[in-house]
Each structure stands twice: as structure tokens, then as C-alpha cells.
Amino acid sequence: MLLRETMSQAIYSLTMNKLRSWLTIMGVAVGVFSIIAVMTALDAIDKSIESGLTSLGANTFQIQKNPATTFGSGHSRNLYANRKDITWQQALLFRKSMESKSRNIGFMISSMANQAKYANLTTNPDVTITGGDENFSASSGYIVAFGRNLAEPDIRYSRNTVVLGSEVAATLFPSGENPQNKSLKINGEVYTIAGVFNKKGAAFGQSQDNFVLIPITRYLNHINEKSSLSITVEALSRKDYPQAIDRAIGAMRLARGLTVKDTNDFEIRTNESLIDSFREIQRAIGTGAFIISFMALLTAGVGIMNIMLVSVTERTREIGIRKSVGAPKGIILRQFLLESLFLSLVGGVIGTIIGTAIGNVVALKFNLPLLFPWLWITVSMVVCSAIGVSFGLFPAWKAANLNPVEALRPK
């Protein structure tokens, strides 16, 4: 019964010093905001890692020069930088030794920042040209929407055929006209459109549809930018997957001409390894953000304590009056504790609302699903309450133990 009175008195006291209360609340809000915003964004990214990174087909793995992300010391980064590109010759050697033990061996090579042109329409100069073969679409999870995929003869004769990513198709054929067998120009060279892929969507804010696929043989002869090839391999079955990877490593070592003493100078990427490496980054960011936010909350706690101490000093007389009319220690303690608790919880709520909003705006920007980070909201509220109580305890204790005679003495 007394709780309600104490509460309304606490709130009333806080409204008496609006600016001061708000400033203190903002301190807490900023701390909570940073935790919630970062954690919301990270959670959203986490949700999309599964969907975004399972871009390889089932039972498929990829061999590349470098890992998906390099995360570590300069030493390991130098190690990757010195690796030699995977060449066409090596890729063919690899295929020869792997052909009977797996299927759909595909090659891929990409060049970023190109421009495609049809009639008087031009794309932005950010189109990726991918050199691939007939297996590219299956191993990368693209489905032909209409027209046809690249076929084996396209590769063999290094034909100037092209399959468009859905975004490129939408830019160059906005009226819905059938692009099949139309001619377009990529970097000044003429290609005939064989088909268009289905939309795959974005991963990490990166469109996966802003590309064109040409035969890899043509790519190697006509595109100047030479980079390392990547090879996709599909295991014969789920059961065979681990052995397929082992065999692929062996075949690749052979193709790269490695001796027994050399370590692998290439990486095997599986859906799992991609996810793992992103999780590693995510964890590091999360830990860092959490520590920084925690520091911010600690500072906010000190701010609360400071304000409450000032408040106790200012209201010494009020405390004396309350005590003289019979307020017991516990009630005075509770009143001041409630004030600090209220400050930190209001800060917590504001921080949570803004944090969730911003976190979700980030999520939207990256085309990630919206979410409400219950776990982190709970954590923040608990932490806020703990801060309110622990940092408010000393000032409240001080107020409760004021000597009424001293407190009432006119200054």
C-alpha cells in the first residue's frame, strides 16, 4: 500500500528537476541503445547467415585460392596474399582426376564493375561478369527463368552467349520484352542472350542478381581481368561428401604441383565453413560492442549515483520533515531507490526502443528480416535495474540514515 505512494512521490520528485532527470536518463539510454542496436543488427545478420550463405547447392563445396574472410594477424594475411591463382590448366587437371568420383564440376571466374548495354539502355558500371560453364547455375543455386542455360558446346566453342542475372535483365528490358536471342554489348563486345536466371535476392546487402554469365572459355580469352578460378564440386551423395572433399584436396594438390612437404595453398569452402567464418566476425563484433556498451552503462550508473547524491543533499530538509512526521528509514530508502531505479529503467526503455528501431533499420538496409531481440531487451532491463539499485543504494542509504535533528536544522 505504501509502495504506490512512494512511487508517485519518487516520480513527482523527478519531474521537479526535469532537465536533470532527462540528462541522467539519456546517459542510460545511450548505453542500452548501443547494446540493443548492435545486438539487433547482429541477430538479424545471424538470421540471414543461414539463408544467405547456404548459396552453394546441397552436397556441393568450392575450392578457392583464399578463404571467404581473412580474419587474423598480418602474418596469415600475407600467407594468403602470396598464394598463386588457380589457373585454367590446373582446373582442367583437377577435373580430369575428379570426374569419375564426383559430378557437376564447375569453374567460375568473375570480374566486377562492368557495364552492359542494350539498344539505348545501359546498366550502371557495377555488373559482375562471371565466366562459368554449364554446371555453374546448378552449383550456385540459380534457376533459369526462361530461355536456356549455357550448354556444353557454348563452353567448348567459346561462344559469345550470355545468360543474364535477373537484375541486369530488368534494367535492360524494363518493358518485359523477351530478351532471348537479342544482342547486347558487354564492355563493347557483342553477346547473344541465351536466357535469364531467376531472382535470388540479396545477401549482406549485396545483390546476387546483378551479373551476367558467359562461357568461361570466352571469359579467359576476352576479359582482361584475370583472377583466380574457383571450382565447385558436387559429391555423389551426402554420405560421400567428406570423402569427396578429401579426394578433391588430393586432386588439387596434384594439379597445383605441391610436394609432400608443402601445405595446401587453397581453401575448401563449404556452406558450413562460410557460416563459421562469418560467425567468427559476428562474435568478435558482438563481444567488442558488448564491452563498450557495458562501459557506457557503468558510466551512466555513476551519473545516476552522482545525481542522487546531489538530490539527497538538496533535499536534506525534505527528508528531515518526512522523518519528523514519522517516515521510517525503509520508506525513505525505498523512495530514493525508486527514483534511481526509475531513472535507469526509463533510460532503458528509451534505449531499447531507439536501439531496436535503429537495429531494424540496419536490418532493412541489408534486406534482413525484422526482429525484436527479446533476449537483449531482457538483459538490458535486468542490467538497468541492477545499475539503478546498486548505484542508487548508497545515496538512498545516506538519505535514510540522516539524523532528523541535523536535517531539520536551518542552514
Partner: protein, 221 residues
Amino acid sequence: MQSLCKFYEMGDQTVRALDSINLEFGQNDYTAIMGPSGSGKSTLMNILGCLDTPTSGLYELNGQSVAEMDDDELARIRNKEIGFVFQTFNLLPRLNCLRNVELPLIYAGVAPEEREERAAKALVNVGLGDRIKHKPSELSGGQIQRVAIARALINNPSIILADEPTGNLDTATSHDIMNIFGALSEAGNTIILITHEEDIAHYTRRIIRLRDGKIESDERR
């Protein structure tokens, strides 16, 4: 109270603020405690009001020994048995008259509706029925002191303790306030007031004079 003492340590000196005081106040006593500054009258008032505890000696209030009580028991006694009227009024400036008067009832655990009703009635009784929603800053000194009296009376205390209640008021208002105390005494209340003004003291029926922590005289009229 018997052989009541209160000592303060001031540096290496011991100040005997109250030195073996023996006093008894009966029901419906109307007493003035007088004395020059430093005579110990404020200390006596603080102990009578259970704001402070004696260094030694016995103080019984309605048969309860107060000297041994802890802070929360003292708070409860102040709430139920004592009504304070201060020279500096000591109202909470941010609360209106009604909220100020009902404050002791909050700590007594009285329900909100009953609180408001009783506080409003108490304000009517001191002639401030039309000032219920005013804040202390909107009232004159005499009116403020009447609010304080209403607050002191709200919980039907055993003793009303008034510490220089007219010290901050002009003569005419002082006499108004003393008339209120007179009426309260007529109604059966026990009143102890501290003053250094002879004419104020002469409203009462008993005058106790203190000097250097000892009783100089105790006369009833």
C-alpha cells in the same frame, strides 16, 4: 522523564546540554519552555519529540520507554504520538496544503480516500478550507503556520510540540496562532511550546525556565 542527560562532545570538551532533568507532563498540560539560547531548550524539545535520544536517563511517553528505541520505533512514535509545529514551518514547498497535511497519514498507512477527507477537515478546522489546493508559497506566514498546525493534529497525537511557533510571525498573527493553541488546549490537547517571548509564554498555564541545561524554575498558574 527522570535524570535525563544529553551530552555533546565538542572537541575535547563535553557540553552538558541537558543535565539531570526531571520533568513530568500530564494530560492536557499547556506548557511553555523558556530560556536563553544555549540553555538546552531545543535539545529538550528534540528529545521530547523523539527526534533525538538522551545520553542517559529515562523518558517514558504514555508508559513506553523511548530512550532505548531504535530509529524506526522512534519514527513510529513521532508519527502516532507527536505533532510538530516548527518556527520555520517545515512544509514541503512543492506539495499543496492538502498533501502536506496528509503526509503523516501516508506513513501511518491510512487509505488515500480517508487521508484526503481527514486532511481536508483538518484544514477547515484551522480556517483554511478555501486554501486546500494552494502551495505554501501562495500563503501568508500565519496561514502557513496554520497548515503546519493542521498537519500536527492530523494523527491525533498525545503531545503537540511547538518550537518557537510565532518566531517568524508578526505580533497580530502571533496572537491568532496562540488563540488556536488556546482552543486546542481547551479541547483537551497536551501542548508544549518553546519560546523566548514572555507574552507568548503567558498564554500557557505552566512555564518551565531552563538555564545551562538545568531547570531554573517550574511554575504553574
